[in-house]
Symmetry: D2
Subunit: 135 residues, 4 copies
């Protein structure tokens, strides 16, 4: 059964806009927090991965907005590994209010591996194996 990584945060004032809710692009920042926590959980931090000469660049993102987060709300991010291949990895996210459980956003991002020159690369085998073990 696949691992679900749970991250929590509190909405910052800077993340709101004049509609009185969280600005829509900021949910992609929260997704990144979710996958960073997911990756760290499996033995290698993303910071370590970059130090080893690999970058993960987002190649596709899709986001559905079901509700609105507000300033000071406590938020829960659930991150799942959706797919892992030799050159790409996909994560799915469910973002909800931590207290009420109300669903706010569902999202999916695909990331591709790049070498330090920014060229497509194959994911390090041990990193890929770590992720596979989480499915």
């Amino acid at each position: 059964m696949s691992h679900v990584q749970v991250s929590e945060l509190r909405v910052r004032y800077a993340e709101t806009d004049q509609m009185g809710v969280v600005y829509h692009a900021n949910y992609l920042v929260w997704c990144e927090i979710g996958r960073t926590d997911f990756i760290r959980r499996f033995g290698m931090s993303y910071a370590d991965l970059e130090r080893a000469g690999f970058m993960l660049a987002v190649s596709e993102a899709s986001v559905r907005y079901h509700g609105a987060a507000r300033y000071d709300d406590r938020i829960r991010i659930e991150t799942r590994l959706a797919d892992v291949r030799s050159r790409a990895v996909a994560f799915e996210y469910l973002i909800a209010h931590a207290d009420s459980g109300e669903r706010l956003v569902s999202a999916r991002t695909t990331l591709v591996a790049l070498d330090p020159a920014g060229r497509p690369a194959v994911l390090p085998p041990d990193f890929r194996a770590q992720l596979q073990s989480a499915r």
Copy 2:
């Protein structure tokens, strides 16, 4: 034939990340600049729309990343109206380097109308008609 709104900007330092390129969530900010210019072009600014008691909230966004924008690059955003209905409007975006024409991002967002209390609403008829004329 449908109208294509062209917006231009220069990449800000604040928009880059440590990968040396524009942080992926910022392209959604640029899409918003594109549709703001599109709407203003047709006789009513989005700021006026909000003052009239209507908000447009993003309900779906999908983004494909083809290349990377860098600090100080000049960027061109092409915005097209993809669909307009009684309660929702969809835009498509093509973001490219202004100088080389290199394609960076293609994206689509759907927005729904909300009343001041945040409930789903019908788009003002004249606003909808203005958008229709742009198709």
Copy 3:
């Protein structure tokens, strides 16, 4: 003796820039997290204060940068009340690496009370008294 509120966070990828360190304006966002935690500690959240019809707007900010925070670093923010008057309140911040203790930023912000129309206002007496008790 004055209360020191300690907040902790981990640096987000979105907060870095192409220099490989945290973008300088983001420290002001962290200061806001610090004073939000400070205010919540004394019985009234800033969200409650806004619901009661008061806003606190930053009227002055000064920041000194001593070191650089990097992606995934754990950060500690120490927030102190520096001054509280009928219409304004000032906080001081010390931002450091949570692990090494290395000092990164020292800052001070002054905030003025505004009513819902954005006009200068007197701080609610009980809110002011709560803050006074923290000095």
Copy 4:
């Protein structure tokens, strides 16, 4: 007489917060746009400076807020060189509404030169001379 660099921009929705005005930290981003334009005006872009192996890191910033910018407002940034030394350069900024001239923010930042390893460095002599010519 010293050169005044004028930059203009329009407020983005993403730059507002739930107070209905521009979030206070974003004015530092606008200051950076001002000094980037200032530096480009004198023959070398900041992007070129970084490619030559020099970075300018903000070491001090002070900001006074006099008024509030709102979504879609047209903004004017006036940037002046305040001081230039062998290892540091200071700029002053006046940010105002482009239409009404209403003053919004006055600010000052000091930047220090760093080499690619992040150590303090001496500003390239020709860069410094270019700036001096602007005073």
